[in-house]
Symmetry: C2
Subunit: 559 residues, 2 copies
């Protein structure tokens, strides 16, 4: 690589920290086994589907004074799904462990995600190759992809490719779905006596791959810090100019962990949480009422400005919109074959749709601003569904609030000004340089993945815990993937999946928001996290998220 | 202040660097005068308007071993216009200099911008107050405002307020317009024997307040680094996912310095520069052709992704759109009094407008996507004009490119995919924690402003130069504001104004883009600047912009 930024040059030199249990190297490890494990739910179903890999114990590593010889082995690695900061360090940690164990070992990277192992597209890593990517963001080292590794044919061709390269273990770096597929591949390889191990690594900025075994997926720390930086900067701008309400939509379709963490870092005036909206069955108009009330009360104390943080997936959690979108997805395939619809103007299309929906859903549709109606008409996704990610929820809320506030103004209940700016942050944080935390965590996950491989484990997730402590106190080990699974309906069929973690309304993280929400709404408790720092005081450079801190404190309080 | 982020706590401790000439304090300074100066153009007009303050020499400071006594004086300070990182440090530098000179001195901050001095709204600073804001972003310390200080009545009431507080000098921190007003106020005070000095400080993230005397306005460094961080992160995401073209609009209405600097920091595939569009009289369709050509050629080598950087003000520089918008501004006032228009549907309004514009402008209007047409219909600004800042230029370009590419596809000239994401960055960077450069520069500007006051100067801009050198080599002094002025037509009248610096197409900064643009278009020379660093290697923490570096190198080459 030529042409590096000054920060890139310095970050390439950073030596990520390892848990002390791993710090003496792969050849000086003892593996301790816990007791047998069970799936979180649907135990019998999961056991039946994973006959060979179910029920294995969790394991932990500790250093040993005695050195063990490590036989030669080749390993393959795959990046799966959306980018998360730190992926390159997982590969670097894996590479370093593998080469330290035996310099004859080889690490192959499959290109473009899971399709790389299926189609036999790969590179072999060497020192120079890896060194260019240490402590950098992105998945550009080998690319990523969204192919699901789940069919018999895919497993078969993956096996062929591994045989050709003499690969005896595959590491899959991915989210809940990718790790579910890792579990299936592990089971399939054992069932077919393929003698190929499969180890997963927990990746996703969404923060929804966590449970009793996994404290957090990698990337969440860096991504939320990047969004926190931007929201904090905008808060300071709002508080200086005192003339805009800023509506900030934050990436995260199914869970609101990212919006919640970003809000705890910055303490904005309004934070919406999808899980709360769903569980309390809040209607769109009740959300607008809640927001309008804060806007009105702030204007009464002379504050015609503020910040609202909104999770990307919000509208799928508002019951009436969820029902309307489902209805729309049902009627659209027929409409799109109807020339009266396809040849109609936008206005024609809208009126045809209004007549095609059930009366309840039709009135929900009619109540939406025209910008949002057009966005609902846009190109379908490959399954023919409305592309919810294209809906500008932040503008939907602004438009409905404008209407609500102008009505309140007519009624003499509001005399303020409502000027707005909207923002959407997502792509800005997925490929940031990993924070020191993510750089260390990812390197440890990759290093630890090779420790699991070296002890012959398969169907395990690389696990590094105790993450609010300094890195040398982190605990390294492995968790059977089946332990985190249950059965869920997907496209009409019951499937084994790793359970997604949603924001828990009775958990310590949401409670922190709930307790402070009225104070933050009115009193401008803005916090300005600033840019992620890599050098300097540990209090700035080595801290992790508020979420992790609160969850860890709550766990300790229970003990 | 309670409730500080970890970075805030550390940044409050940072001691900004001063030029060595100022480092021995206000009482150990000698001021050297250069020769008399002249306005950059319209010398006679400017001289006539500024009879008392015209033609003064530039001045520079050097340390002296002899201490001078500093008499007691009160000073007022105003933040004017849009936020820029470092404003708080100008005030902190001013405060420290003033208190070091004489502990009896008082610093007053006028609240909410220039209206504070007119209406007599102020605070008196003390140590605790100032300490809470050191090295932080934002203008929230006293707020800012956009009132123009230019009428006789405003000057008169400012004088009354100053007399009441026994203020003998006012520091105005602002952009070109605010400093023009500072020059007028300085002249007025002298002409009225008010015995009140006025000193300006060069502020604006836009980077268009620069000339032979001013290397750069403060805030440009931090703001462009923040945008550079985000564009770099998005480039890494694009290069990992390889599925989106990202269109990034960057704040900056009249000059493209910010977009250009951000592009030099990150080397995206496409960068549009408003000044080039205007000077080469590029039509909207020729811009679309230029962009489509790169998109097509990249798709031919398998790259259906990329990054395009677009300056916010672009559409005002495209001749046909500029003419159409001017025509629209002419016809709208009448239409808005016409009930047929105001009561019409959006479609009605659009057709009425199409009939009201000249035939040429009407066909330009008709060629625009419907989203942009509606944005052109939105609320006028206070002058009744189209709000150009509300036009989503990034979406305009995307929409027109979609059309162009689908036509090329029909003609068999394009077989790629064109999926897009759009972004607008502006508010994210105006209130970031100032970079070390801006923290030092601003502190020096404020400190130096008091040095000018102490030597009795008025109508001067605080000047700190030689900025690509380490801070101790910086040169401190003052430049007569009238020296940077010329006459320009504003609202139909010739007015004295400080000349705005536009991007020069034959300058070293634009040349750097021009020379590399084809290489960057095709070969992905993405640079990833990462987050602004405040601690650590000087190569990362203490560098300033590419713009300043290239301009300084070019100046040295000329010598």
């Amino acid at each position: 690589m030529t042409n590096l930024s000054p920060l890139q040059i310095e970050r390439l030199k950073y030596q990520p920290k390892l848990p002390s249990s791993l710090a003496n190297g792969i050849s000086h490890l003892i593996m301790n086994e816990g007791s047998a494990t069970e799936a979180v739910a649907n135990k019998e179903d999961i056991k039946n589907l994973f006959k060979n890999t179910y029920g294995k114990p969790t394991v932990t590593f500790q250093t040993s004074t005695e050195a063990v010889e490590c036989s030669q082995r080749n390993v393959g690695v795959i990046l799966s799904g959306g980018q998360a900061p730190g992926g390159h360090n997982v590969i670097a940690g894996l590479y370093d462990a593998l080469k330290q164990a035996n310099p004859e070992n080889k690490l192959y990277g499959f290109l473009g995600g899971p399709s790389g192992i299926i189609e036999g597209k790969y590179v072999e890593f060497n020192d120079k190759f890896i060194d260019d990517y240490r402590n950098t963001g992105g998945f550009d080292i080998i690319g990523s992809g969204r192919t699901k590794l789940e069919t018999e044919e895919q497993f078969q061709s993956s096996w062929e490719v591994c045989k050709k390269l003499n690969i005896s273990a595959v590491v899959i770096i991915g989210g809940d779905d990718s790790n579910t597929n890792a579990a299936m591949l592990a089971e399939w390889f054992v069932a077919h006596n393929a003698d190929i191990q499969v180890i997963g690594c927990p990746k996703t900025i969404d923060g929804d791959l966590k449970n009793d075994q996994i404290e957090i997926s990698f990337g969440f720390d860096t991504a939320t810090k990047t969004y926190g930086e931007l929201i904090g900067n905008i808060e300071r701008d709002a508080n200086s100019a005192k003339k805009y309400w800023h509506f900030v939509k934050i990436m995260g379709r199914s869970a609101s962990h990212v919006a919640l963490e970003a809000a705890l870092q910055t303490q904005p005036n309004i934070t919406l949480i999808s899980e709360e909206v769903e569980q309390k069955k809040m209607s769109l108009s009740s959300i607008i009422d809640y927001m309008a009330d804060i806007i009105v009360r702030r204007s009464q104390i002379g504050k015609n400005f503020g910040i609202a943080v909104i999770p990307e997936g919000l509208i799928e959690f508002i019951p009436e919109l969820k029902a309307m979108i489902a209805n729309l997805n049902d009627v659209m395939p027929a409409l799109e074959k109807d020339s009266k619809y396809t040849n109609g103007s936008d206005a024609d299309k809208i009126s045809i749709i209004e007549n095609s929906l059930s009366s309840e859903n039709s009135s929900v549709f009619k109540s939406l601003p025209s910008l949002i109606k057009s966005q609902l008409l846009m190109d379908r996704d490959p399954h023919g569904n409305v592309q919810v990610s294209k809906i500008e929820t932040e503008k939907l809320l602004i438009s409905m609030l404008e209407e609500k506030l102008s009505q309140l103004k007519k009624e003499g209940k509001y005399t303020g000004k409502f000027a707005t700016q909207s923002h959407f942050f997502g792509y800005e944080g997925r490929c940031a340089f990993p924070s020191n935390f993510d750089a260390d965590y990812c390197y440890s996950l990759g290093y630890n993945a090779f420790a699991l491989i070296n002890f012959g484990m398969t169907g395990y997730l690389s696990s590094v815990r105790n993450l609010t402590e300094p890195a040398n106190n982190w605990l390294a080990g492995g968790v059977p993937l089946t332990m985190m699974m249950n059965m869920e309906r997907r496209h009409g069929e019951m499937k084994p999946v790793i359970k997604k973690a949603l924001v828990e309304l009775d958990g310590p993280v949401f409670k922190k928001l709930e307790t402070n929400r009225e104070d933050w709404a009115m009193n401008d408790r803005y916090l300005f996290p600033g840019a992620i720092q890599y050098f300097g005081p540990a209090s700035v450079c080595d801290i992790t998220t508020v979420t992790l801190k609160l969850e860890s404190e709550s766990r300790l309080a229970e003990v």
